[in-house]
């Protein structure tokens, strides 16, 4: 189950084109993201709605139709999954308390990611319970100073680190491509391949690459062959489950809409009552036979 972990949300039409290219490339799920600078306010509640893919494929008169859409190719039982995500850039120490205070707003998103801009902020982000991912801006020349002790603490708490490869595809800025390579190797060196993620923070669907291409790229970041496939499949699913735990009070209670339950299970209570009634009738008949 390959999941694309970062794609910017620019409206319905661009999302539909992105999904049509991703099914071509071999992915099974997408996370649509949104970026924020520093301050979190009440207006930042998640307004993401999932696209109904069957209607959009079969509608002739709609403007969304695209002949390269291969969503019909997959089995009908297999669904293309869609999630939502928030990216927060923090550049001042004073705004870290907002991440703890605005819990209820952060719980509306499936995944929350933080971009620390200095080492002091990086130290304080490790112990927060309202966060899933810590990622860096890799196109800069000088990366943050990372230390082994802090990284090991974060892995014990269950946080993930991320590499983004979309900044390599700017041809007129060759310096960005050189910086991403050197910084990504630095990140891999300190994490040793544990709790790593690879994603593309792309705007256009042209900057997306296939699953095996990304695995080949990971070998040039000094990630060994065996871990390269695990990073794309197992770690990406564990991030989503980590997000669920954060939303639902450590997995004890979960509240869902009624529409998500399939129709067969909605009326399950009636079937149990019918079975109990039948048993009672059988028992009555047996009692009557015994009397007679």
């Amino acid at each position: 189950m390959f999941i694309e972990l970062d794609f910017q949300d620019n409206g319905k039409q661009s999302n539909y084109q992105a999904i049509s290219t991703l099914t071509q490339l071999g992915y099974d799920g997408v996370v649509f993201s949104r970026t924020i600078d520093d301050l979190i306010t009440k207006n930042d509640i998640c307004t993401f709605k999932e696209l109904d893919l069957k209607e959009l494929d079969q509608n002739e008169n709609s403007s969304f139709k695209n002949l390269s859409s291969l969503t019909l190719m997959k089995n009908e039982k297999k669904q293309f999954r869609q999630y939502s995500r928030l990216n927060i850039k923090i550049s001042s120490k004073k705004n870290i308390f907002l991440l703890k205070k605005m819990e209820n707003i952060l719980k509306t998103y499936d995944i929350v990611a933080v971009f620390p801009q200095s080492t002091e902020i990086f130290e304080k982000c490790i112990e927060l319970p309202t966060i899933d991912i810590i990622s860096f801006d890799l196109s800069l020349k000088y990366l943050i100073k990372i230390k082994y002790k802090q990284v090991n603490k974060a892995i014990i708490n269950g946080l993930f680190f991320e590499i983004r490869y979309s900044s390599m595809f700017k041809t007129k800025q060759l310096q960005a491509r050189k910086n991403t390579f050197s910084n990504a190797i630095n990140v891999v060196k300190y994490t040793k391949g544990k709790n790593l993620l690879i994603a593309s923070g792309a705007n256009d669907p042209i900057n997306l690459r296939g699953t095996y291409d990304v695995m080949n790229m990971a070998t040039f970041f000094n990630i060994p062959f065996n871990q390269a496939k695990n990073i794309l499949t197992a770690n990406s699913e564990s991030v989503i489950s980590h997000g669920l735990m954060r939303k639902t009070y450590f997995g004890v209670i979960k509240i869902d809409d009624k529409k998500k339950i399939p129709k067969e299970l909605q009326n399950s209570s009636d079937e149990d009552e019918d079975e109990d009634k039948e048993e009672i009738e059988i028992e009555k008949e047996e009692m009557m036979i015994e009397k007679n």
Binding site: Q58, L67, S69, M168, F169, T171, R177, D204, L208, M217
Partner: protein, 164 residues
Amino acid sequence: MVRVKFRYLLGHVRWQTTTKMNSLDISGIYHYLKNSVKLNFGEYAICRLGWTLNVKQYNPLTGLFIVRCSRSQMRQVWLSLTLLDEINSQKCAISIIHSAGTIRSCNLQAIKHTNSSLLVAKSLIQIKNEKEKYQKKKNKKKKTKKKKNKYLPNTLVKKNKSKK
């Protein structure tokens, strides 16, 4: 005995705009490939590749092509293909589907890849035909009924008199 072993890579090109690139040739792809290997891995990598780098087939309609390289340099050629951005001042993206030791197995995989896209076109045409049939049936059944005036008694309503 000692044999030189190759790897054949099946690749797929997709463009940003839907304009047809009929002017692209096999020599054009070879030119841009060589430049990207030089950019990313240096001149030493080109000297190691030497004469083994070659583009064998290219289909401009579907966008599939086959590239040959020596076995030890496969991953470097693969990376230089993924990082290829622009061809003829238009943006493009390359994704590699299959890698094999012979051309024949690459061609078999290319057949499978085109079959899957043909199935989608077939199913879309089927849906279109079914909708047209359904609409034709609907239009046949619609007949305008003559409305009876409620406030007139039945005797005043005109009846069709059969001519004897």
